[in-house]
């Protein structure tokens, strides 16, 4: 069931600023990406550690939980084999995020062609029904809100980290978090504590 969203003043901020560069603390990413392109597996491990939470959040917002981990692996392997196509190392975050979104779309298309498995297979630690119910609501939020909230609430990334990884400006992330949280409260029927 799709929810009707109040688009308008809540329109998500999703644009990546033209010419955006990697933020402070990640100045070495460009060198890391060049090293990955040269086949340096240690550099790839560093890149993986830096971006795995972002990729995980993007996929978790789109595909069944049971397949998220495998798709994360697919995304990074795809990024590794295609990294020569990346012209601007500063755009890596947005680039791998796009790979993740495309991989999720492919997965959903393929899934329709095969026998459907239950949405959430049991396994590992039991996830409470409330967690899955809230995840279901978050998944129905607009993309920018959904992804930003999952990075913050699931992966524990700070607003600045989200901005650094995604290439969004901190102001955009702040808006996405604020508006996304507001919309999520409404969907859940929660009143904000003042």
């Amino acid at each position: 069931m799709e929810h009707v969203l109040e688009i308008g003043r809540l329109y998500p901020v999703l644009t990546v600023p033209r010419g955006a560069t990697l933020n402070s603390g990640r100045g070495n990413d460009a060198a890391t990406i060049r090293a990955v392109a040269a086949g340096d597996e240690d550099a790839f491990s560093r890149l993986y550690a830096g971006y795995v939470r972002m990729v995980h959040a993007i996929l978790l917002g789109r595909v069944p939980r049971r397949d998220v981990d495998d798709l994360v692996q697919d995304v990074f392997i795809s990024a590794y084999t295609r990294i020569g196509e990346l012209r601007d190392a500063a755009a890596f975050g947005g680039w791998i995020a796009a790979i993740a979104r495309n991989r999720a779309t492919d997965y959903l298309r393929q899934s329709r062609e095969h026998v459907e498995l239950p949405e959430e297979l049991p396994g590992g630690d039991p996830i409470e029904a409330e967690t899955l119910a809230i995840l279901d609501v978050v998944r129905k939020l607009p993309e920018a809100y959904r992804e930003t909230l999952l990075m913050r609430l699931v992966e524990g990334m700070s607003g600045n980290e989200i901005a650094e990884r995604t290439g969004l400006t901190p102001a955009s992330v702040r808006v996405n978090l604020h508006r996304g949280m507001k919309l999520l409260r409404e969907k859940l029927g929660w009143q904000r504590h003042e």
Binding site: G39, E41, F44, S45, L47, Y48, A49, V52, R53, H56, A57, L60, V63, D67, D69, D70, L71, V72, Q73, D74, F76, I77, Y80, T81, R82, I83, G84, Y107, Q110, H114, V115, L117, L121, G123, G124, I127, E128, E130, T131, I134, L135, V138, L150, R152, L153, V154, E155, G156, S158, G159, N160, R174, L177, H178, M181, L184, W190, R192, H193, E194
Partner: protein, 340 residues
């Protein structure tokens, strides 16, 4: 209320955000601390080859050799997997016929599918229905799976310690053998050995399970106490009760049943119990084991009671299940609590 807490967790905590963090944080990426996936070869960018001119032939030959090397590398970091029934899934793709599973990928079978994985050159693992298993590592001398739920049957012909299966309640290390390993939805497990030995371990608690024996594992306890499949049923029931009981009185009562029903073939089980029982019950176990299997020369009751490693070693050797020094080369067989 400001959005500082929502932004980075600073400022006055927002109860709604805290609640969402607590609930949704359970879904956090388990891969964050895990190694990056095994890498395939990067593709050759053909457009750059146009400019190579006369050197192209030589370069092509070199590239072929490099390609073969990379192909070998890629193959070495994955296993062949074949569908035996139904349509298992490898990663996010359905498996029809044969394929490969790479390090980091998961094989999932449903109620109607089964699969078989080839463990490098050392053996095979059959994946039963309703099973989820992940390939953790594969390289010369070390192959590792994580069995999250379901059942696998392993047949391994390799030196001890090369094939390892992680489960939520124990790590099973192959000692050159064949076995069946099952994991319930709650993480509890059951190991049954049909050839050789398997070592189970969790947080320092270890059990050695020989051919013809089986052992339960518990997510909190780790490996239970192994027993032979043809042992007295009442003894085995009491053994499970002993392993899982928290109350000292209940443990003592269960232990008494175990000792009363232990037969000549249960020395291996009693040996495991020496270091697992409460101190007040240890003498009874030692004496019961001594009735089944006399202490070898040089081993004293006092040394065993204080869990002296050398004494336990020698008594173990008397079981006729292999020299303790041999086990020690890759995994010490002492139950938790033994002095080394």
């Amino acid at each position: 209320m400001s959005d500082d807490y929502l932004w980075d967790g600073s400022g006055t905590p927002d109860p709604d955000v805290q609640r969402l963090e607590a609930l949704l944080g359970r879904l956090r990426a388990p891969l964050a601390g895990a190694p990056a996936p095994s890498l395939p070869a990067q593709p050759i960018r053909w457009r750059t080859l146009r400019y190579l001119g006369p050197a192209l032939a030589t370069a092509a030959a070199v590239l072929v050799m490099i390609g073969l090397t990379l192909r070998t590398t890629r193959t070495a970091s994955s296993w062949e997997v074949a569908s035996l029934a139904g349509q298992p899934r490898v990663g996010s793709s359905a498996l029809a016929g044969t394929g490969r599973i790479a390090v980091g990928q998961t094989l999932v079978t449903d109620g109607g599918s089964q699969a078989r994985m080839t463990v490098g050159t050392i053996g095979q693992v059959t994946i039963d229905t309703n099973t989820r298993v992940r390939l953790v590592a594969t390289r010369d001398g070390h192959h590792q799976l994580a069995l999250e739920r379901g059942t696998l049957h392993a047949v391994i012909n390799a030196p001890p310690g090369q094939f390892v299966v992680n489960t939520p309640s124990a790590t099973a290390t192959d000692l050159g053998c064949a076995y069946t390993l099952h994991v319930d939805e709650d993480g509890a497990g059951y190991l049954s050995v049909t050839s050789g030995w398997v070592a189970l371990e969790l947080h320092g608690r270890e059990s050695l399970v020989p051919v013809g024996a089986s052992c339960r594992t518990d997510a909190k306890l780790g490996p239970g106490t192994p027993s032979y499949d043809d042992a007295d049923a009442e003894m085995r029931r009491a053994l499970d009760e002993f392993d899982l009981a928290r109350d000292p009185t209940a443990r003592s009562n269960a232990l008494r049943v175990v000792l009363d029903h232990a037969g000549p073939g249960d020395a291996m089980t009693l040996w495991h119990l020496i270091a697992r029982v409460d101190a007040g019950d240890r003498a009874a176990v030692v004496d019961a084991l001594a009735e089944l299997l006399p202490m070898p020369a040089g081993v004293t009751r006092e040394a065993v009671l204080r869990l002296d490693a050398a004494a336990l070693d020698q008594w173990w050797n008397a079981l006729g299940l292999g020299e303790a020094s041999w086990w020690r080369n890759f995994k010490a067989p002492y139950p938790a609590g033994a002095s080394r």
